[in-house]
Symmetry: C3
């Protein structure tokens, strides 16, 4: 266990309504020493892919044994399972809808349980619309009291993963898709450094990036390597290919967004 | 007193400006061990009814003796009173403008004082525009130092409550109003479970919900009980009748919002 | 050092993306007892003047020795310096782009170092796009471990300050500019109380405020001193002249914004 019980929240609740705060109140009742950190409450409503992406690029940076409550849960109140799982050194509590997909790609599953014994959590009469408050929050107190997670239920037979688009590559080009548009208007693709064919990693291999057939340019290492207002491609802090405009908004300048095709090409002369 | 001094903030300050953080700085100076949790800083500007609703659906979930600072305060700098009151097991510090209305409906008043002795709080020269920072924040240190709240002033002769719209019912129907549109586009009404005529609680009493005379359907227990894109009515986690579209936005689909009329009817054959 | 290691964040990251939370995870790994408070993550993208203003009106209210991480950093990954400096009793970690300007105007510089020894911070292979997570966050652990800041690098020869617009005054009028439009639609100007010619401070000196030649009225001390919907001028909680509409939005009512000219005039008869 960590020194302080650390809890994060990733939801699509927004910040105006009382929902996130009600969860925090219940967490603090269930675990008075909990330190609660918001990952995001602005996952687009019901958008599991987006929630999965945001979770995977924040949660793994926390100290070991942090408990991450993930409540992007359009199936709340139906018979969808609620899972508790450790991937790497982090603990996740999440609805079984695929939101764990990116985490699972990068961190080994240590153990997983489907919550079945709600009585152990002290839950009586959960609402049918707000399991974040009525089910997920009390799990925090249970976990940090040191009780075994395995007692909460049984190992699920299977769990849901999203069918993610994968980049494809030939000898001449790699093609991927935009999977996230961030606050800065930067486009983040599913092309990671490790997808690169090994002979492309040669820094002398001049590469050119295109987005929906519009030319972006070669791959840079910082936004400031082009003039303000000019576009660039860069492997970002997530090791994913990102398209940006220095001090601008790529999504607006190129009028593209989620799902747009991004290709990396080797000009004839570079082969 | 709680183990840790817990403080929440409910304001209409938004999150971009320095206002909420300046309050937090002063709170931490006045009470270095305070744990501060945001309920919301996105109450619509100057909207007391909305602030009252958000407060009432988050604050009561916190551990006993949490201090809730409520700064939706268009009358700042005028002679409106600042009140400190305990309702149920929670402590509220708020301007006397009705923002305590929903709390007062559900939790018994234990005691109340109007702050008059600003010197006791160590306040000299509060601004006329930002009592959140200059008056409310220092109250936290005073309360958690264990000093008696009663010394801060005197019991007010009266305090302000909003004149809330009440649902009306006949033998054939109940009619209420939308009092909040949430982040998901769900409409929350002033019709609570306890408003129901007892003979309507019979689960065999087929009930149909309408919004501005558009048909919504029977009352469900989870969003997922209708197909994605379809509307439903449900008693939500606040025990209030809520209109939603599964994985969609009711307010947009039905083009309705705050104040819309919602009726529950018993079809002729069900009587 | 303060009792608890206090850290604040001021960024243009927004709240939807994983960026702010990834920083917090790294801060908590580097300093497990850190208490993290958001000043703002909604500084307009790449807007250093706006970030400087928000920082200066929140950070100084925190307990002494709070560490303020400031990541409005369009030059990330270039050779712009990262500075650690104490102004007054607060510690700031910030890119050398002028974001410290308003702080420097009001608080004495105690000491400053340009970070050069990234190895001391345990940093290997920072990304070129996210120094908030990879460089700024680890500084927190270094500082709160009590190690000397001076070991991190050397005193910079110079550091960047913004060229702020200054109000100008004659015997008949003072003219300044709007430097911030807040969440309420209030306009905040660069005219402070101390800019006032001494003979104007005479309360009998009837003064009239204009915005882009539209009449606003005399200087008040609270929003509620005019009827709802009516405009007013007030010296606000930052001691800056602010234009507001009681329970309304000045920026919309007068169709003005950042950079608008605001003048204070003494009518002929008042001289």
């Amino acid at each position: 266990m960590a020194n302080r019980p650390l809890v994060t929240l990733t939801t699509d609740f927004g910040l105006a309504d009382p929902y996130a705060a009600a969860m925090k109140g219940v967490i603090l009742k269930s675990c008075p020493d909990a330190e609660i950190v918001d990952i995001s409450h602005q996952v687009p409503s019901h958008n599991i892919l987006s929630g999965a992406f945001i979770l995977a690029n924040a949660a793994p940076f926390f100290p070991p044994n942090t408990v991450h409550l993930v409540v992007v849960d359009p199936g709340v109140g139906t018979d969808r399972a609620i899972l508790v799982a450790q991937f790497g050194d982090q603990i996740y509590v999440f609805p079984d809808n695929g939101i764990i997909t990116f985490i699972k790609e990068s961190y080994p599953l240590q153990n997983m349980v489907e919550i079945k014994d709600f009585g152990l959590l002290g839950i009586e009469g959960a609402s049918g619309t707000f399991h974040g408050r009525d089910v997920f929050a009390p799990v925090v107190g249970y976990i940090f009291s040191g009780k075994p997670i395995s007692h909460l239920g049984s190992v699920p037979q299977h769990y849901t993963l999203l069918d993610l688009p994968q980049p494809r590559s030939s000898d001449e080009e790699m093609a991927g898709r935009v999977i996230h548009v961030d606050h800065f208007g930067n486009l983040i693709t599913n092309i990671s450094r490790q997808h690169f064919p090994s002979h492309w990693k040669d820094p002398k291999a001049a590469l050119e990036v295109y987005c929906q057939d519009q030319h972006v340019g070669p791959i840079r290492t910082a936004y400031g390597q082009v003039e303000p207002g000019r576009p660039l491609a860069v492997f970002n802090s997530m090791n994913l290919l990102e398209l940006a405009v220095n001090r601008g908004r790529f999504c607006d300048a190129f009028d593209v967004g989620d799902g747009a095709e991004v290709t990396i090409r080797r000009p004839e002369e570079a082969k």
